[in-house]
């Protein structure tokens, strides 16, 4: 790959020309600016809209700008934010959050429970097609609503009552039943605003989509007489949303369309006029302006841990409605978080300043933050070296620089270089349909000495045979060791979860050559060893190639022939998704410190992400069983048992726990590095006194 050539050449040449810089720190440390963090991010954010963003680049920026019920603590675990406290029902299905009344948007409006409900139902509306909709998967009817499969009856029909929820039972494509027209032009405006305050006017007869009506369980009540309707008009590629009095919408083009639906055991045929497609079917209920309740379909202990993520970050209705895809531009944006966006120069930088309306100003240590959007690792590291930025994001150091920074070359690491574990695991998928022999797969896993790998990848990765990643047990504090119920000598990692919980994954199949040979002999006896194995990895990174060759050598040591193939990234993802591979290098990164929601679902029979096509009924049963256990420690024990069953079948060969590499100038204080790489940058401070 060209990009790789660029990177490697860049570094080799830089190092050759300058040698290894002396001193405790890597580059200049004399350019600190008071209360201003200049941060090298790792690329251009895809979106700043929490509903649409899917890249790791945008996450830290979104949590700076938009508050959530909870937000990321310095350790990455959720801390109360908009919500001051909450109650969880005994069945772990209902979560009631109480919001503070001091939270304000940057335009002065109060942040309310309706804003949370708006953000969540927006993520679930199919028009947005949010990549983050899955984050709300546990919420009752969330995915049914997302797929337009659930409706509320508007009238009594065939023995069912108005207000009942019905599910579609057929798969025929139907027109959007929410389409409406009006005989007169529609004046789109904020809820309850006078007609002259309209910011868009829909011509008479033009179709609009009815999104919601006022006064439901998720929408604010109408401030005037009569119900209001929130509609979308596809004016152009961007469109526009707005409120109008509902009585103006008289035309229902698909009123006569027939749809097969059922409620419980009752199946009926309803017409479009009898069905309402409305967000109040979802298990979200605003109790009052400062109280909101979420209902999950199953006991979901990890729901609280997900309340800080993008899908539940508040978004400003008034700006989103006017500029559905441009509302995060500095000229339009309204924020609720610690910092406010004032400039966004694409592919160069974003400028944020302290928000004057944030409810917790004491925690914001910065007046200004500049986030550079450079996507080239060498450029970021060079920029840091010359003092252009004060700290880098977690993946800004090119691999060729690692041996210099971590001290392999000069004996001591630089003091401003930090390597920390990351909630991600590098592994090899083994396709259980192409390689169905369990002994063969176990032999493959048992033959690899993972401890040698960081010696050539140089990133201080944490060798592992465990699926669930976490912090090396050897690095835990005494209190954490007690929480996890392990001693410092216990090998492997542990995952510290919220609420003082800890998950210690089962050991997995670590190096054991004698056993590998025994397993292989067994596999051969069963005729389960093909003459040649095929291993694919994505081209463009030296490390993937080296690891492939290392595994190849290890397996050759057992007498197995292995063919390696580099594929383009998308091609490899397609091949693995279709099951068109034997062994493939991939990995899995978790957004939440919870293996039940992040890692174990990969291996269920019906998971679209189960690239190894692994399917074991014992595993399914244990996961299902865990879901019913309310005691979290007991639940973890069952999950651990499930992981044990799976890892012993070796549909996956874990290689190492990823690490994050940061460069942080000595005058930067309290930079929050955490396992899920969600740095709450507003907590950072600049200590100019320590500048050399």
């Amino acid at each position: 790959m060209l990009a790789r050539g660029v990177r490697i050449a860049a570094l080799v040449v830089v190092l050759a020309a300058c040698g290894v810089p002396d001193g405790d720190y890597f580059g200049r440390v004399d350019r600190a600016e008071a209360k201003h963090l200049r941060w090298c991010n790792q690329g251009e954010p895809d979106f700043l809209d929490p509903a649409r963003a899917s890249s790791t680049v945008s996450s830290p920026l979104i949590s700076l700008m938009f508050d959530g019920l909870t937000t990321y603590g310095p350790d990455g675990l959720p801390v109360p934010s908009l919500a001051t406290h909450w109650e969880v029902s005994d069945d772990l299905q209902t979560f009631t959050f109480h919001l503070r009344d001091t939270a304000r948007w940057s335009n002065g409006r109060a942040v309310t429970a309706y804003d949370v409900a708006y953000a969540a139902t927006r993520v679930l509306h199919p028009l947005i097609a949010s990549p983050n909709a899955d984050n709300l998967l546990p919420v009752a009817h969330a995915m049914d609503y997302f797929q337009r499969r659930v409706f509320r009856l508007r009238a009594d029909v065939g023995g069912l009552h108005a207000g009942d929820l019905v599910d579609r039972t057929d798969d025929v494509t139907i027109p959007d039943l929410a389409t409406r027209t009006a005989p007169a032009p529609l004046a789109l405006r904020d809820l309850g605003a006078d007609e002259p305050a309209a910011y868009a006017r829909v011509p008479a007869g033009e179709p609009v989509l009815l999104i919601a009506t006022s006064g439901t369980t998720v929408t604010p009540p109408s401030p005037t007489d009569g119900t209001w309707a929130y509609v979308y008009w596809a004016r152009d590629a961007e469109g526009v949303y707005g409120w109008v009095p509902a009585r103006e919408l008289t035309g229902e083009p698909f009123a006569a369309t027939q749809v097969h639906v059922k409620h419980g055991a009752t199946a009926i045929i309803a017409t479009g006029a009898q069905l309402a497609y409305t967000p109040d079917v979802v298990g979200i209920r605003v109790i009052d302006a400062h109280t909101i309740e979420f209902t999950c379909a199953d006991p979901t202990p990890f729901f609280l841990a997900t309340t800080d993520n993008r899908a539940l970050r508040t978004v400003p209705t008034e700006a989103v409605s006017r500029w559905p895809s441009r509302w995060t531009r500095p000229e339009h944006v309204i924020t609720s978080g610690p910092m406010h966006l004032v400039a966004w120069i694409e592919r160069d930088r974003l400028e944020l300043v302290r928000s004057p309306t944030y409810w917790n100003p004491g925690e914001v240590k910065l007046d200004r933050l500049t986030a550079y959007s450079m996507d080239d690792q060498a450029a970021n590291t060079n920029y840091y070296f010359t003092g252009g930025c004060d700290a880098t994001a977690s993946n800004d150091v090119p691999s060729t620089y690692l041996p210099v920074l971590n001290g392999e070359q000069r004996g001591t690491p630089y003091k401003d270089y930090d390597v920390s574990p990351y909630l991600g695991v590098y592994f090899l998928w083994v396709n259980t349909q192409k390689l169905p022999n369990r002994h063969l797969r176990r032999a493959l896993a048992l033959a690899i000495d993972r401890t040698q790998i960081p010696k050539f990848t140089h990133g201080n990765e944490i060798p592992t045979a465990q699926l669930t990643p976490g912090t090396p047990i050897a690095k835990l504090s005494p209190a954490e060791l007690a929480t996890c119920g392990v001693t410092r000598e216990t090998p492997g990692v542990a995952l510290l979860m919220s609420a003082g919980l800890c998950y210690v994954p089962p050991p997995g199949l670590a190096l054991d050559l004698a056993q590998a040979r025994a397993e292989l002999a067994q596999a051969r006896a069963e005729g389960g060893v093909p003459p040649k194995l095929h291993y694919i990895y994505n081209a463009g990174s030296e490390a993937h190639k080296q690891i492939a060759e290392y595994a190849q050598a290890a397996w050759r040591g057992l007498g197995l022939e292995v063919e390696l193939e580099a594929q383009e990234w998308n091609a490899m993802l397609e091949a693995t998704r279709k099951g068109d591979f034997e062994i493939a290098r991939l990995g899995q990164v978790g957004n939440v410190a919870d293996t039940e929601s992040e890692f174990l679902p990969l291996f269920t029979c019906d998971s679209p992400d189960n690239r190894g096509r692994y399917c074991n009924q014992d595993y399914e049963r244990l996961l299902k069983e865990a879901r019913t256990i309310r005691d979290r420690a007991a639940r973890n024990a069952t999950l651990r048992h499930a992981e044990q069953v799976m890892i012993e079948d070796a549909p996956v060969i874990p290689i190492y726990v990823y690490t994050q590499k940061h460069l942080i100038k000595p005058y930067v204080r309290d930079y929050p590095i955490n396992l899920i790489d969600q740095p709450s940058l507003w907590r950072v401070s600049i200590d100019q006194g320590s500048t050399r």
Partner: protein, 304 residues
């Protein structure tokens, strides 16, 4: 002349149509799509994301939709960032154009001067030195040259910024890196053209008239000797001002070049077609300019 221009116009439209078609077909033939991911994602969400951009329509429908908007001068909308491709080009094109024009100026001024001196002092040490330099310029790729300059000038000496466009000084390294790629070729083409020109009758006449050698070289010979360079400048200018991926990547310039590569790896169909159509249009335009320039520079090429 009008007929010539009209003919070229028709040909241009055909070229652009061919470029749009080829980029559409090739990218759609590649495995995966804009929303292919290694992240966990349900089938429903994946389906909805693709549906939003009409990726479930038939290839013919998608192709016609793309041509339709192209005919209206609308290059479509990025599927990864939900912004218009016209907007992307308007925002990032000028950055590339400025760096490109600076690089072009470096290459043309230095390259032609070097070529002229080499031809003038043919087979002397001046010639050998200049042509060796030119050869180095041609052979050293920009992904080696750029980092070398960053290492020496930004990291070691600390004179110029190593990345980003921020103030006048940050244009210097990218412009030189970009210019040096073309400088060598321009110098060699100039030398060849000049040697040809210097051997011709009208030069002997000019010298016989007693014109000073400087005037013969710079006024009479250069006019003819530069023609191969002019031919080369059409495509070279188009490539330079529409953005060099490598130079933009090394120096992190927010230009257009990045999209030529990233839209392929991202499978961002409208962006790819958009930037390639834009590039084709510039190329066609500049080649036309070259043809017209021939008539101006070389009296022998004028159409009657």
């Amino acid at each position: 002349m009008i007929r010539f221009l009209l003919g070229r116009l028709v040909a241009s439209v055909l070229v652009i149509l061919a470029v749009a078609t080829a980029s559409f077909l090739l990218l759609h033939a590649a495995p995966g799509g804009p929303f292919t991911t290694d992240a966990r994602r349900s089938v429903a969400v994946q389906h909805a994301m693709e549906e939003r951009y009409g990726l479930h329509d038939s290839m013919a429908t998608q192709y016609l939709r793309e041509l339709g908007s192209l005919a209206r001068g609308d290059l479509g909308r990025s599927m990864k960032k939900d912004v218009s491709v016209n907007g992307l080009i308007a925002e990032h094109g000028p950055v590339s154009a400025i760096v490109g024009l600076l690089g072009l100026a470096t290459a043309v001024i230095l390259g032609i001067t070097m070529g002229v001196f080499a031809a003038w002092k043919k087979n002397s040490w001046v010639d050998y030195l200049l042509m060796t330099l030119a050869l180095v310029g041609i052979s050293v790729p920009s992904f080696v040259l750029g980092p070398m300059m960053i290492a020496a000038i930004s990291i070691h000496l600390g004179w110029l910024p190593p990345a980003r466009i921020d103030g006048v000084s940050s244009y210097i390294l990218p412009a030189i890196t970009l210019g040096l790629i073309y400088l060598g070729t321009i110098a060699r083409l100039t030398r060849g053209g000049m040697l040809d020109a210097l051997g011709q009758d009208f030069i002997r006449t000019a010298r016989a008239k007693g014109l000073p050698e400087r005037r013969v070289i710079w006024k009479h010979a250069l006019r003819v000797g530069i023609l191969p360079v002019v031919t080369y400048l059409g495509p070279a200018t188009a490539a330079m001002i529409s953005g060099s991926f490598v130079v933009e990547k090394i120096f992190q310039i927010p230009g257009l070049g990045t999209y030529f590569i990233n839209s392929i790896t991202d499978r961002d169909y409208p962006v790819l077609t958009g930037v390639f159509v834009f590039y084709a249009a510039i190329l066609v335009l500049l080649n036309l300019a070259v043809d017209l320039a021939y008539g101006v520079i070389d009296p022998r090429a004028r159409r009657t």
